[in-house]
Structure formats: structure tokens, C-alpha cells
Amino acid sequence: MTIPLRPPRRLVDITVDGEEVRVAEGTTILDACGDSGPCSGKKDIPTLCYGDTLTPKNACRVCMVEVEGSRTLVPACSRRVEQGMVISTDSERVRHSRKLVLELLGSSTDLSTTPRAEEWMERYGADPARFGPDAATVEQPPKVDNDLYVRDYGKCIMCYKCVDACGEQWQNTFAIAVAGRGFDSHISTEFDAPLTDSACVYCGNCVEVCPTGALSFKTEFDMRAAGTWDESRQTQTTTICAYCGVGCNVTLHVQDNEIVKVTSPHDNPVTHGNLCIKGRFGFQHVQNVPTGQKD
């Protein structure tokens, strides 16, 4: 079998923060500025709704950068470079916009389990509290309707990633969608039915892509509630799922000799971060040690 070579991509000249670089046509600004891009110095553009295994939705607007000649800022995650583009990734306008977006999110949503949120808030001087104590929020009790994962929508920033992963981009199950409109928009099954009544197949691919911890393993949710969740004490071991012959890579997150969470490497050519219910949640048998033999 021969794999046809892709036609060579033209290189375009762009300017990023004053530095002239050449990148392949069709590259996104985010990729051009990222670790593997040609820019000297890491730009570290913050992202929330961007997912390395998903088509950018550019809904969170935290990755906005300034492009000369453009009336508005543009989303780095989805805007592709063009010949002669002059990009500023850290101008006053960019910093103001990121600060406000973080403040708007932080004032309406619980970002306590969002990786790096605190760091970015500090970097951009964001103060979500300045909208006052009466600012509307999406606070609500977590939905615990099954034994495998929890939906804590008080932490949801509406990035659409879980919907995309559940739907046409990966799982094709379509158990959840965005319902409502405006500030009332939310992720929902039909008529807000419990998950156990929905089309959900518990692949957990939504949990895999959730950027805020709104979706989490029941194990993680319970341990956080009990105060025993401690990532510094966890090890991660990537192995191959033993259930069938597909050969999915699974990464076992282990704390105190117990599997607490299972993920899959996003760059794994078999899974692209996706698993099925067995690989994702079917780990209990590994630690079922006969009574008396446990140390």
C-alpha cells in the first residue's frame, strides 16, 4: 500500500510581535505561535475551548490576538495565517480583551478546577469580583445521575467541546447538545432527561475534553468532596487496554494504589484520546483483591 504524499504547502511570511517568520500556508495563528512554530520565544496564548483533537469552535474568545487591518481581534485557534499578516499576541488591546473575558467567565462560572485559570487571571490582572456580589452566575447543584461520571454545570464555560466529542466529531452518539439561548444556554439531553435515560454510552470522551472539570469521573468528584484528591500523589501509567483487539492506549491515573481516573493520550493514533465505556470506566476488576489479601 502506498500513502500518497500531500502536495507541498506554500510558505507565507508573517510578522509575529515584530518578528518576521515563515510558516506553512493554512497553519493557524495558534500553531504558528506554539511550541512547534517558528517563533522564537513561547507566546503562550491562553486557550479554553480549543481542543487538540477537535475542530476549533472559537467560542471562549480567550485566545484573541490582534491582526493589523482587522476591525476586531481574531481568534488565534481558528484563524489561519495569510501572506503578510502582522500579528500582535500581547498588545494592550489583546491584554484588555483577555482580562475581560477571564473576568466575565470567572464572575459567572466556578473556575476552581480549571487548570491554569488562576495563573492567567494573575497574568492579565483579572478581578472577577469587581462585578459585585449580585452578578448573575450559572451556579447550580452537580448532576449525579449515574455511577461513572458527574456533570457539574456550575463549572461549565460553554466551550461546546463535550457536544462536539459526543456528536459528529468523535462518538456520533448525540446524547447532549446546547439548549436554551444567551446566558441561559446550557448543555442538556432532550428535555433535560437524566443521562441514564438518554443516548449516552458512557464512553467518557466528553470528560476527556472538558477544560474546566465540569465533567469528571465519579471517583474524582467523590475524592474532591472528601478532600482526598491529590494530583501530586498520583502516577500516570500508559498501557494497552486489555478488553478487545483494537489496542487502545489507556493512561491509568493512580493514587494510593487505586485507579482514580483513566484517560488516553491525545496523540495516540488509535484513540486520539477517545475510549469506550470499558477502557474508560471498566477498571474496577483490576483492583478487586480477595478479602484478606489486601495490604
Binding site: A59, R61, M158
Partner: protein, 627 residues
């Protein structure tokens, strides 16, 4: 697609409503009864997602709300996942997924109606019918601004019916609703004397003026009679279009200098040329009749008074840009315009002016009318595609632009109603004659929607270049004994101007130079009795309500803007003013579409140009009633 359903069954009525639209189900694969034959063939039904919105309408029209059984049946018929259909149904404000009465009264509380006493209507209704939410509800602008304060009653049934009230007093509205009888039948395609709703020309104070171009047939022709339309110059432009061919039509439109009238003012000829050039096929035409900018009602008047003009103009646009299918997307709050256009399209089709062989010229073109369901955002040029495709009406990220990837991912030309009807005089009189009207960069005539505290509200047609003062004079100025306080140009997404700025020329370049905008042609006049703070609160409420919720700056920013304005309406605070500016700037810079980008315009102009909330102007705090 493997769909999973819960056990909800549709009622016979719901099933009948859906089947009336889609026909009976052919197989068990799409919701029919299972037969032995179905077990032998695995015929996976094709998704017909684009019929989702019409199917939701069918049930909502018949029953008044959409039950889970009805939604599931629609999903089986169209092969759409129920979670996604639920997301679509809950996007639109005219749909309900909880039980409600068959008759619902939508009371406009938007800018114009508010300035004309909508609060009184609501108070009367609340006293007699209870709080809003069930049999009556608040509504954004209904486009009945010349008749403000106004209300629209929608009654589900077979057939559904509607009634329009305006201008109306609280007691009259209550009496009419308690007596509620379906007033308008489906046959309301011509003006009938004695009908409850005034004829379309009642909104055109200049009606019959020989100098009119776009409005010349309003009140002159019978909107239900194709022969009358032809006798008044109708279809001469299409005949000329076939004589000169697509390339020459585009050349004429380019030379005419016509720019879009929906608000963005993009050159129409360039849009057409770019679409016509696309190698990818098919091309689609979309006519944007989702006129929802508060204070705008020009497209409604054209569609109600001269519907065949729009059908003819769409045919020309389709021919010029290589489209064989045109979608006419009308907002759901315009039942009379929908009836008249439906009739006009059917008549044109039966007379060979639409269909496989238009005018015997070998060109195939047809128009499909699609009804919106209460969402301002669907007037955004890419949200309208998603709405037609049966998705939530969320704007898409640009690029790619519609001329490359639009409706169904194909090259698409989107034009506003007023833009399209301008093509008729361009083809009939020639581009040079058209370009001679108006100014150098704003050519032709423009429709203005005069409303608020003016003596003769309505649609006015003036050549570009007339000043705001000319327009106000034409409309009789503010009522006796009143003085002008401010004018809102361009609607909720527009900007205020002061009484000392009335010499602003009403052109795209003139208003831009003055720091305001023509937008869709809204001219809302406010006199010294108007409560500017309340108007600003209503604008903020409008954007908060109508934000689709997709991007953070708009979804949360519009909420924070409203909260800050509510606080400011109670007590001045420089901190809140600074907060407003920062949020406004982020919305303008970082929102996906024009809604979020303009949500702060009017508020900003009121603060900067009118001095609202400035400590030096105590008159801006006339109402300190606690909320």
C-alpha cells in the same frame, strides 16, 4: 444514524400536524409502523435536518407548544438526534417545550412601544390576566412601530390564526383578548375593506406620491393580484434581465453603486460578482427578511404591500448569480407578510414566473419560504444559514465568507429585502440614472422607519443626502408642545444624536463621519417626555435576551452591561461607568458577530453624546423608582 428515544408518543394531533408537512412516513425507518418488509431492507433514512424548523413550526402552530412525544416523532421522521432537536426548539422564543394555552398574546415592550406606553398595556394585562409567561408575554420589537404600542396574538389550531392590535390601550387590549376570536383567516392576501388590520399603505404617509421609487406601488397595486402588479410595471425588470444576461446585470448593479440596506452597507454588486464567480455549485440565494432590529419595519411594509416585487427581485438576483434556489427567510412575527409572500410565490409559480422554465427562458429558479421563530440573531448573515439548515441559529466564524461557503456549505449570496427591490429600478432605469440619485457614495433612495414621538410615524422614502431635519419635518416633527430630546439612529445597535445635530446628512458616509450609523434605517424620535434611562435599560435587556450565547464576551458581557445599567439607574457611580466602558470595549473587540460587537454602541453614545448618567445632568435621573 442510530437514534435513541425515550417512550414518549405523539398525540394524534401532533402526528397529523407533522404528517401534513412531511407526508405520511414511508417506512418504519422514519417513524411509520413496522412491517415485514422493513425487516428485509436496511434502508437507513437520510437526515432531512433542514426541515426541522418547519416541522417544529407545524406542531407549535397546531398545538401551541412542543411536547416530548411530538419532538421525538419529528426526530424519527427527519433522522435528527432528539437532544439536538431539543437544543434547536429551545433556541427560539416563539416555541415552548412546556404546556401553554393555544392563544398567546405577544406584547411588544421594545424601544418604540415602550416610548409610547407599553408599560400601561402590561399593567392592564397583568391586572386582568395575571403575570406574563403563559397566556401573554413580553416581546421584543414586533415591527409594528408606526402603530405603537402594539401586540400580536398567535392562536394555535388548524389552521392557526393571528391578530394584530395597535395602537391599543390597555383596557381595549384586555377586552379584545378576553373576547378572543380568530380574526385573520388564511385568505388575507389582498387588502380587504373593514379588515381588523389596517392596509400596508397606512404605514406609508407618502403613499401615492409619484416621486416614490421603492414604495411607488404600495397602496396602488393589489398585493394579491399578479396581473395588477404586471399592469403597474411588474416583471419588466426581469424581462430586461433576460435580455442583457447575468454578467450585464452584475455590471449594472456594480455601476449603480448599490450597497446593502440591512445595516452593513456592503456593495451588492461585489457580493453578486464574487458569488457568480465561484466554481463550486449549486449556488444559493438567501433573502434576509428576518427584520428584527428594534424600530425597523420597512421590509414588512414592502412584503405586505408589494410582495411580487420581492419575488421578481429575487428571481433577478438568482439569475445573475447562478442560483436555482432561493430561500426567503421571514421572521415569524410577520404573519401577514408570510401569507402574502406565500401567495405571491405560489401565483408566480403557477404562471411560469418561477419553476423549471422562468418566463420560457430556460432558466430554472424557485423560492422556498422559511419562517423564523423569534430570534434576532437569525438576521445575522451566517446565523440565517444555520437556522435554515435546522441548526441552532448561531453565527459562524468568518472567514470563510458566505460567497465561498454559505448555506449548506455552498457559495451563497445573502441580501436584505430592501436591497433586492432596489435592483428593479436599477435595471429599468439603468445604472447611470440610479447612481445620479443621492450622493457620490450613497446612491439611490433609502427607506427610513420613523417612529416614536413624531406626528406622522411610518416608512419614508428619501434620496440619500437629505438631512435628519428634512426627514423630521416631513414626518411633522414632535407633537405640539413637546421639544426634541434625542434621536436614535440605526436601532438598538445604532447610536443617539442630539437635537443640535439634525443637519447630519442621512448617508452612509455622513452618519459615519458624525460617529453614528444609518443601520437599517431606524429613526426613533424621543421628546422631552421620554425616559432615556429606561430606554437604555430596554436596549440592554434586548441584547441580553437576544444573545445566542455562543461566545463569552457577548453571553456574559450583555448580562454585566444590564446589571451595571440597573445599578446606574438607581445611583450614579463612576466605577460602574468605567466598568461599562471596559465590558463594552471587550464585546466590540472580541465577540464573534455583529450583535455582540454593537451591543454597547447605543449605551456608549447615550453616555458620551447625551450626557446620560453624567453628574452634571440631573434630568437624566427622572425616575428613581426602586426595581
Amino acid at each position: 444514524m442510530d437514534l435513541r428515544f425515550r417512550d414518549a408518543e405523539p398525540s394524534d394531533e401532533e402526528r397529523a400536524a407533522v404528517d401534513a408537512l412531511l407526508g405520511p412516513p414511508a417506512t418504519a425507518w422514519e417513524g411509520g409502523l413496522r412491517t415485514d418488509e422493513d425487516l428485509r431492507v436496511a434502508a437507513a433514512a437520510e437526515s432531512r435536518r433542514d426541515l426541522l424548523l418547519p416541522a417544529l413550526h407545524a406542531v407549535n402552530d397546531r398545538v401551541g407548544w412542543i411536547s416530548e412525544g411530538a419532538l421525538d416523532y419529528i426526530c424519527r421522521r427527519l433522522t435528527v438526534p432528539p437532544a439536538e432537536a431539543y437544543g434547536v426548539a429551545t433556541f427560539y422564543s416563539l416555541f415552548s417545550v412546556t404546556p401553554r394555552p393555544a392563544r398567546v398574546l405577544h406584547v411588544c415592550t421594545d424601544l418604540v412601544c415602550q416610548a409610547k406606553g407599553a408599560a400601561g398595556l402590561c399593567a392592564s394585562l397583568e391586572e386582568r390576566l395575571g403575570p406574563p409567561g403563559s397566556s401573554w408575554q413580553h416581546s421584543p420589537c414586533l415591527g409594528l412601530c408606526e402603530r405603537a404600542p402594539a401586540a400580536l396574538a398567535l392562536q394555535a389550531g388548524d389552521p392557526p390564526s393571528s391578530a394584530v392590535h395597535g395602537p391599543v390601550t390597555g383596557p381595549d387590549l384586555v377586552a379584545a383578548e378576553l373576547a378572543a376570536t380568530p380574526e385573520t383567516g388564511p385568505a388575507d392576501v389582498s387588502e380587504t375593506p373593514g379588515s381588523a388590520e389596517p392596509p400596508a399603505e397606512a404605514a406609508v404617509p407618502q403613499a401615492g406620491d409619484p416621486g416614490l421609487v421603492l414604495l411607488r406601488r404600495i397602496g396602488v397595486v393589489d398585493p394579491g393580484d399578479l396581473d395588477d402588479y404586471r399592469a403597474n410595471g411588474g416583471y419588466a425588470a426581469l424581462r430586461r434581465a433576460f435580455e442583457i444576461g447575468p454578467a450585464a446585470i452584475i455590471r449594472e448593479v456594480l455601476d449603480s453603486g448599490l450597497v446593502g440596506r440591512g445595516g452593513a452597507a456592503f456593495p451588492t454588486g461585489r457580493k453578486w460578482e464574487a458569488t457568480a464567480r465561484q466554481p463550486d455549485h449549486p449556488h444559493y440565494l438567501v433573502c434576509n427578511a428576518d427584520e428584527s432590529e428594534p424600530g425597523t419595519f420597512k421590509d414588512r411594509v414592502i412584503m405586505e404591500g408589494d410582495p411580487f416585487a420581492l419575488v421578481e427581485a429575487m428571481t433577478i438576483a438568482g439569475y445573475a448569480t447562478g442560483c436555482h434556489k432561493g430561500y426567503l427567510y421571514i421572521r415569524g412575527e410577520y404573519p401577514r407578510a408570510i401569507r402574502r409572500l406565500t401567495h405571491a410565490i405560489e401565483t408566480a409559480r403557477s404562471r411560469g414566473l418561477l419553476g423549471a422554465d422562468v418566463m420560457g427562458q430556460g432558466y430554472a429558479f424557485d423560492i422556498e419560504l422559511r419562517r423564523g421563530a423569534g430570534a434576532y440573531i437569525c438576521g445575522e448573515e451566517t446565523a440565517i444559514f444555520n437556522s435554515i439548515e435546522g441548526q441552532r441559529g448561531e453565527p459562524r466564524s468568518k472567514p470563510p465568507f458566505p460567497v465561498e461557503k454559505g448555506l449548506f456549505g455552498k457559495p451563497t449570496v445573502v441580501n436584505n429585502v430592501e436591497t433586492l427591490v432596489n435592483v428593479l429600478p436599477i435595471l429599468l432605469g439603468g445604472a447611470p440614472a440610479y447612481a445620479a440619485i443621492g450622493t457620490g457614495s450613497s446612491t439611490g433612495t433609502k427607506l427610513f422607519c420613523l417612529s416614536g414621538n413624531v406626528r406622522r410615524p411610518g416608512i419614508y422614502e428619501l434620496p440619500f443626502g437629505a438631512t435628519l431635519r428634512d426627514l423630521l419635518t416631513l414626518a411633522g416633527g414632535v407633537p405640539e408642545g413637546r421639544t426634541l430630546r434625542a434621536v436614535l439612529l440605526g436601532g438598538a445597535a445604532g447610536a443617539f444624536v442630539r437635537p443640535d445635530e439634525l443637519d447630519i446628512p442621512l448617508t452612509f458616509e455622513g452618519t459615519r463621519a458624525a460617529g453614528t450609523t444609518l443601520g437599517s434605517g431606524v429613526v426613533l424620535v424621543l421628546d422631552d417626555g421620554a425616559d432615556l434611562v429606561k430606554i437604555l435599560l430596554r436596549i440592554a435587556e434586548f441584547f441580553r435576551d437576544e444573545s445566542c450565547g455562543q461566545c463569552v464576551p457577548c453571553r456574559v458581557g450583555t448580562v454585566r452591561q444590564e446589571e451595571a445599567l440597573i445599578r446606574l439607574s438607581k445611583r450614579p457611580d463612576s466605577g460602574d461607568l468605567a466598568l461599562l466602558r471596559e465590558v463594552g470595549r471587550a464585546m466590540r473587540d472580541a465577540s464573534i458577530c455583529g450583535l455582540g460587537q454593537t451591543a454597547w454602541n447605543a449605551v456608549e453614545s447615550a453616555i458620551d453624546r447625551l450626557g446620560v448618567f453624567s453628574p452634571a445632568s440631573p434630568s437624566t435621573f427622572p425616575s428613581t423608582e426602586a426595581k
